[in-house]
Amino acid sequence: MRETTERQWHREPGWPLIRRSLLRARASLAALGAWSLLEAVPAMASGVLVAKAVDEGFLRLDLVTGLSWLAALLAAYAIGAVGTRFTFPIIGRIVEPLRDELTRAVVAGIVHADGPATPDGSMIARVTQQVEAVRRSIATLLNGLRRFVFTLSATAAGLAALGPGILSVAMPPVIVSTVLFVLLLRRLSRRQRAAMEANERVALEVSEAFAGSRDIAAFRGQDRVVAGVGRCLAAERTAQRRLGQATAARSAVTAVGAYLPLLCLLLAAPWLIGRGVTIGAMLGAATYLSTHVEAAMRMLTEVIGGSGLQLAVTVRRLADAHRGVRPPQEGTATPPAGGEIVADGVGFAYHADAAPVIDRLGFALPENGHLAVVGPSGTGKSTLAALIAGLAVPGSGRISVGGTAPHRLDPEGRPSHIVLVPQESYVFSGTLGQNLRYLRRDASDRLLAAAAGAVGAEDLCARLGGWDAPIEPARLSAGERQLIGVARAYLSRARVVILDEATCHLDHLAEARVERAFRDRPGTLVVIAHRAASAMRADHILLLDGVRTYWGDHEQLTRTCGLYAELTGRPGR
C-alpha cells in the first residue's frame, strides 16, 4: 500500500499521468466503444430505412410498409438512445478516477513546492477550476471524438449500403476537410493559448490594482495604473480578435466537409441514377449528408477546437506550475547522536548569482546549550534556522547536528530529532489533542497537560474545551496559535528545538515563560530572537548583521560589538 501511494506522490500532473490513467481504464474504454456502436445505429440505419420507407412504401402507395420501415427507424433511434444512456456512467468511470489522480498530483505538487508557499488564488484555481477544466474537457472529448468516429463510419457504411458509387462521390470532401482542419489546429491552439494568457495577465494586474487601491489613491497613481492596465486590456482584445480570425478560418474548413458532399451527390445524381441508384436511396443519402455528416463535422470543430485546445492549454499549465517540484528524498543519514550543533564555513545564497545570505559562518553549540540569534532582519536568521532544521542545504561548508547532516535525515523521522517552530504557527481543523500530538502521536493526556503547563498554555487549553474539543483555526489569535505551536514542540522527543520568532505574537512575559520552559527541557535550544530580551536569557549569542558575525555571551558582546550594545542598551532618548 505504502509503495503505491509513494509512486503517486512522485507523479506530475501532465500528459503521462492522463495517458496512464486512460490506459488503466481500457476496459471501460472498450465498453464505451461497444455502447457507442449501439449509439451509432440510428446514424447508420436512418438513411437506409428512410430510403426503404419511400421506395417500398410511400412511392408504391403502400402506407403499411412505409410506416413499418419508419417504425424500424424509431426502433433504431431507441437503440441509439439506450446506447447513449449507458455511455454516460462509463464516461464517469473513466473520468472520475482520472480527476482523483490529477487532484492528488496537483495538491502534492503544491504542498511539496519549494520556496515560500503563500496560499494564493492561483493555487486554489489549480485544484478547483483547472482540474475541473481537465475533467470536463476530457469527458467532452471522449464524447465528441467517439461520436465523430462512429457517426462518420456508420454513415459511410450506410451510404455504401444505399448503392454503388454514392460513397466515392460524397466522401472525398469530408476527408479533405478533416485533413485541413488538423493542419489548422496548431495555429488555432496557439491563438487560444495567447488569448488565455492575455486574460490571465489582465486578471493579475486588475486584482493587484484593486488590492492596492488605497495606496494608489494615496499616491494619486490612478492615471498611471489605468494606463498600465489599459495596455493589458487592449492586448487582450487583440488576442481575442486574432482568435476570432482563426475560428472563422476553421468554420470555412468545416463548411467544406459539411456542405460539399451534398453538392457532389446532387451533381452526380443523374450519373448515379443511371447506375441503378433508386430515388429512395438518393433521399436517404441526402438525409445522411444533411443531418449526420454535417453534425459530425460541426462536432469535430467544436470538440477538438474547443475542449481539445482547452485541455491542451490547461494540462500544459498544470505541468508548468509543477515543474521543478521534487518530493522529499528518503533519508540516508544515520540518526544524530546527541544535540550538538556545529557549523563550519557555512555559506548559503538563494540563487547562484545572488549575494549570499550567509557567508562563511562557523560556530559550535554544545549539547543542551541555549543559543540566541539576533540581528537586523534580512541577515539570514531564518535561513540559519532552516539550515539547522535540514530544510535548506548549505551551498558551501557543512552543518551538523549530533554529527549528522540534518538535510540527509529521513524527513518523516526528523521530528524525533529536530523540531523547528516558525513564526506562523500551523493549527489545523481537528481536535486540540490532534494538534498537540502532531509531532508525537503517542503522547498521553498527562504529557499533553504537562507540556501545556510548561509553556503557559493551560488557560488556553481549558478555554478551548479540553483535548477532544475541535478547533477552528481561523478563530484563534496569532498568539494563541503560537502557544499551540510551542506546546507541540515541547511535547516532541526532539533533542534540538529551534524557535524561529515563534513567540513574537506573545507578550514579553509569556515569551520569557516559553523560553524558560524550553531551557529547562533537556536538549539544545536555538532561539531566533524577535526581541532583544531573548538574547539576555541565552548562554550563547550569535549576532548576524549582514556583513560580519559575532559569537559570544552577553557580557562579551556588550563589550566587543557596538551594534549589540546599541540594540540592548541604547536609551530610547
Binding site: P42, V54, F58, L67, L70, F88, G92, R93, R99, D100, T103, R104, A108, V111, P116, P119, V202, A203, S207, A211, D215, F219, V225, V226, L233, R237, Q240, R241, G244, A252, L266, I279, M282, L283, T287, S290, T291, A354, A355, P376, S377, G378, L391, R414, P415, P422, S425, Y426, V427, S429, L506, D507, R531, E566, L567, G569, R570, P571, G572, R573
Partner: protein
C-alpha cells in the same frame, strides 16, 4: 416596466456599438434567411436532379451555401471584436471609477469582488449585443422552420406541435435535477481547497516536521466523496439523456411518417419530404429558446453589478494650487463618523511645517483615521483640513499628489519590479538614484540587492517578509519627496535594530525639512518626535512633547510591556 440603471447600461451597449450591432444583425439575419431557404432549395435541387434535367436549382443551392458560409465567417470575426471592444470600454470606465471611489465606498467592495466585476460582469454586459441579434435570429429560424413545415403541408406542422409540451417538460427536468448535484460537487471541492489553504498557511511547520504526505492525505480526505458525487452526476445525466434521446426522434419520425403519408397522396414531392426532415430539425431549436432568457438574465445581472460601481460618485477635487510652504497641517473641528459613534470627534490640531508629530493612543482611538484625514485619504464628515493654509479638498489632484507621501503598516500595490514598486511614490520618471537613496534610507537597499536581479526583480518573484514589505513601502513614501510624509504604523513589523537605523534616516536624511506625521505604538518613536498627539476615543487628550507626558501613568500605560522593547531590555540589564 421601469427601466433600471442596469437595463439602461445594456441599452447603452446596444447604442454605443450601433454600427457593430447593425452589421452583426445583418449577418445573423442573412444566416437565418439562408438556413430557412436551405431545405427548400435542397428540395428543389433534389427534385431537379432526380428528374435528371437542368442544374439551375443546384447552382442556386451552391450559391446559397457560399452565402451561408460567408455569413458564418463574418459573424465569427465580428462578434468577438464587437464584444471585446465594448468590454474594453466598460473595463476602463470601471477601473478608473473604482480607483477613484470615496474611501467609504472603496472599502465596501472587497478586491476580489471588484476583480470579478471587472473581469466577468463587463463581458456579460457586453455580450448582450451578439445575444440580442443571435436570439432574434434563432427565433426566426426555428419559428420560420415551423411555418415552412406548415407551408409544405399543414399536417406536418400539426404533427410537430403535438410533441411540443412533452419535449418542453423533458428540457425543464434536466436543469432542475442536475443543478443540486453540481452544487454538492462544488461544495466538496470547496472543502478540499479550504484545507489546502490551511496547510499552506502552516507549510513551514509541515516541512520541518516532514509531514507533507500526511497533510496531502488530510487535504484529500474528501476525494472519495467527490468521486461519488461525480459518478452520480454522470449516471443522472445518462438517465435524463435517455428521455431526451427517445422523445426527439419520436417527434422527428412522426413528421417523417406524416410526410410519407402526404407523399402518397401526391401533396408533396420526394424533395419536399427531405426538406420536411430538415425543417423539423431546425424547429427543434424552439426548445433552446429558454436559454436565451437565461442568458439575458445573466447579462442583466452582470450589468447591474457593473453599474453598482459606476453609479458611485468619484472623489471630487478642487482647482487650487499650493503656495510655497513646508507642510503645515491644520485640522479644524474635524469629525469622522463611524458605525458606533464618531471615530474622530471635533478635533482641532495644528502641526507646524517641518515638524515631526507622533500620534499615539489605544487601538480604535482614531490614529489611522487622523493620519488618513491629514493627507486626504479620507474626507472628514465635518470640519476642515488645511495644508499650508489651503483647504485640502480644494486642491487639484496633481497638487495633492505632489504634496503628500505615505507609508502604511501593510503596504499594498507593490507590483512590477521592486524598483517600480518604490517608484509609485516618486514623481513619474524619477531617477534610479532617487529610488535607491530612498531604499537605502528605509533600510531596504541591502535586501533588494541581495536578489539576483536587484531592483529589477519582479515583486512576485521576491519572497518578502512582513518587515521587508514595510521597508519597501517606507522607501516608496521616502522617494516621494513632498512636503508632508504620513507614516501610519509603518514600522510595526521591523525589528528593533533596523528601526534604529530608519529612525536616524528619517530624522536626518532627505525628509528632514518636511512635516512628518507618524502613528505608532512604540515608545521610541514617540520619544523622538517633536510633539505627541495623544488620542483617546476620537478626541485629542493631549498635544505635548513626550517628556512632558511621561509623568502621566495613563500615558505610560499606552505602551504595553510587550511593546516597550528597549526600556525592558534596560531593566533586565540593571538586574544583571
Amino acid at each position: 416596466m421601469r427601466w433600471s440603471n442596469a437595463d439602461r447600461q445594456l441599452a447603452r451597449m446596444v447604442r454605443v456599438g450601433l454600427g457593430w450591432n447593425i452589421l452583426l444583425l445583418a449577418t445573423n439575419l442573412a444566416s437565418a434567411v439562408g438556413a430557412l431557404l436551405f431545405p427548400a432549395l435542397l428540395a428543389a435541387a433534389i427534385d431537379e436532379r432526380l428528374g435528371g434535367a437542368g442544374h439551375d436549382a443546384l447552382l442556386r443551392l451552391a450559391a446559397l451555401i457560399a452565402a451561408l458560409v460567408a455569413a458564418e465567417i463574418a459573424e465569427q470575426m465580428i462578434a468577438p471584436w464587437c464584444v471585446s471592444t465594448l468590454t474594453l470600454g466598460l473595463r476602463r470606465d470601471l477601473l478608473s471609477r473604482a480607483l477613484r471611489l470615496k474611501p467609504r465606498d472603496r472599502t465596501a467592495f472587497s478586491p476580489g469582488d471588484l476583480t470579478s466585476r471587472l473581469l466577468t460582469n463587463t463581458t456579460e454586459t457586453a455580450a448582450v449585443v451578439p445575444l440580442l441579434s443571435g436570439s432574434v435570429t434563432s427565433l426566426l429560424v426555428s419559428g420560420g422552420a415551423l411555418v415552412a413545415l406548415a407551408i409544405i403541408d399543414i399536417r406536418l406542422a400539426l404533427a410537430f406541435a403535438a410533441g411540443l409540451p412533452a419535449a418542453m417538460m423533458v428540457t425543464r427536468t434536466f436543469v432542475g435535477r442536475v443543478t443540486p448535484l453540481l452544487n454538492s460537487y462544488m461544495k466538496i471541492q470547496g472543502r478540499i481547497a479550504g484545507r489546502l489553504v490551511e496547510v499552506l498557511a502552516g507549510i513551514r511547520t509541515v516541512r520541518a516536521a516532514g509531514t507533507e504526505r500526511h497533510e496531502i492525505d488530510r487535504i484529500l480526505a474528501d476525494l472519495p466523496d467527490l468521486h461519488r458525487a461525480g459518478r452520480e452526476s454522470w449516471r443522472l445525466q445518462g438517465t435524463l439523456n435517455l428521455r431526451a434521446g427517445l422523445l426527439m426522434p419520436l417527434m422527428q419520425v412522426a413528421v417523417i411518417a406524416t410526410a410519407g403519408y402526404t407523399l402518397m397522396d401526391g401533396a408533396i414531392t420526394p424533395g419536399e419530404m427531405t426538406a420536411a426532415v430538415g425543417y423539423t430539425g431546425m424547429a427543434m431549436g424552439l426548445f433552446s429558446q429558454a436559454n436565451i432568457f437565461m442568458a439575458l438574465a445573466q447579462a442583466r445581472a452582470g450589468a447591474r453589478r457593473v453599474q453598482e460601481v459606476l453609479d458611485l460618485e468619484a472623489t471630487p477635487h478642487g482647482d487650487r494650487e499650493l503656495p510655497e510652504g513646508n507642510g503645515a497641517v491644520s485640522l479644524r473641528q474635524v469629525t469622522v463618523a463611524g458605525p458606533d459613534g464618531p471615530v474622530l470627534d471635533r478635533v482641532d490640531l495644528h502641526v507646524p511645517g517641518g515638524s515631526v508629530i507622533a500620534v499615539v493612543g489605544r487601538s480604535g482611538s482614531g490614529k489611522s483615521t487622523l493620519a488618513a484625514v491629514a493627507g486626504r485619504l479620507t474626507d472628514p464628515d465635518d470640519g476642515d483640513v488645511l495644508l499650508d493654509g489651503v483647504p485640502i479638498a480644494a486642491l487639484t489632484p496633481a497638487a495633492l499628489a505632489a504634496a503628500v507621501g505615505w507609508a502604511f503598516e501593510r503596504p499594498a500595490y507593490l507590483t512590477g519590479t521592486l524598483g517600480e514598486a518604490i517608484g509609485l511614490g516618486a514623481p513619474e520618471g524619477a531617477s534610479d538614484g532617487r529610488i535607491r537613496r530612498a531604499a537605502a534610507a528605509a533600510q531596504a537597499d541591502e535586501f533588494i540587492r541581495r536578489f539576483p536581479r536587484g531592483y529589477d526583480t519582479p515583486c512576485s518573484e521576491a519572497p518578502l517578509s512582513g518587515g521587508e514589505r514595510q521597508r519597501l513601502g517606507l522607501a516608496r513614501g521616502m522617494a516621494h519627496g513632498g512636503r508632508l510624509l504620513i507614516l501610519d504604523d509603518a514600522l510595526s513589523s521591523v525589528d528593533s535594530v533596523t528601526e534604529l537605523y530608519i529612525a536616524d534616516a528619517l530624522a536626518d536624511g532627505d525628509t528632514a525639512g518636511t512635516t512628518r506625521i507618524v502613528t505608532t505604538h512604540r515608545i521610541s518613536v514617540a520619544a523622538r518626535a517633536d510633539r505627541v498627539v495623544w488620542l483617546e476615543n476620537g478626541r485629542v487628550r493631549a498635544y505635548a512633547p513626550h517628556d512632558d507626558l511621561w509623568s502621566s501613568p495613563d500615558y505610560r500605560s499606552l505602551f504595553t510591556p510587550g511593546e516597550q522593547d528597549r526600556p525592558d531590555v534596560r531593566q533586565e540589564l540593571s538586574h544583571a
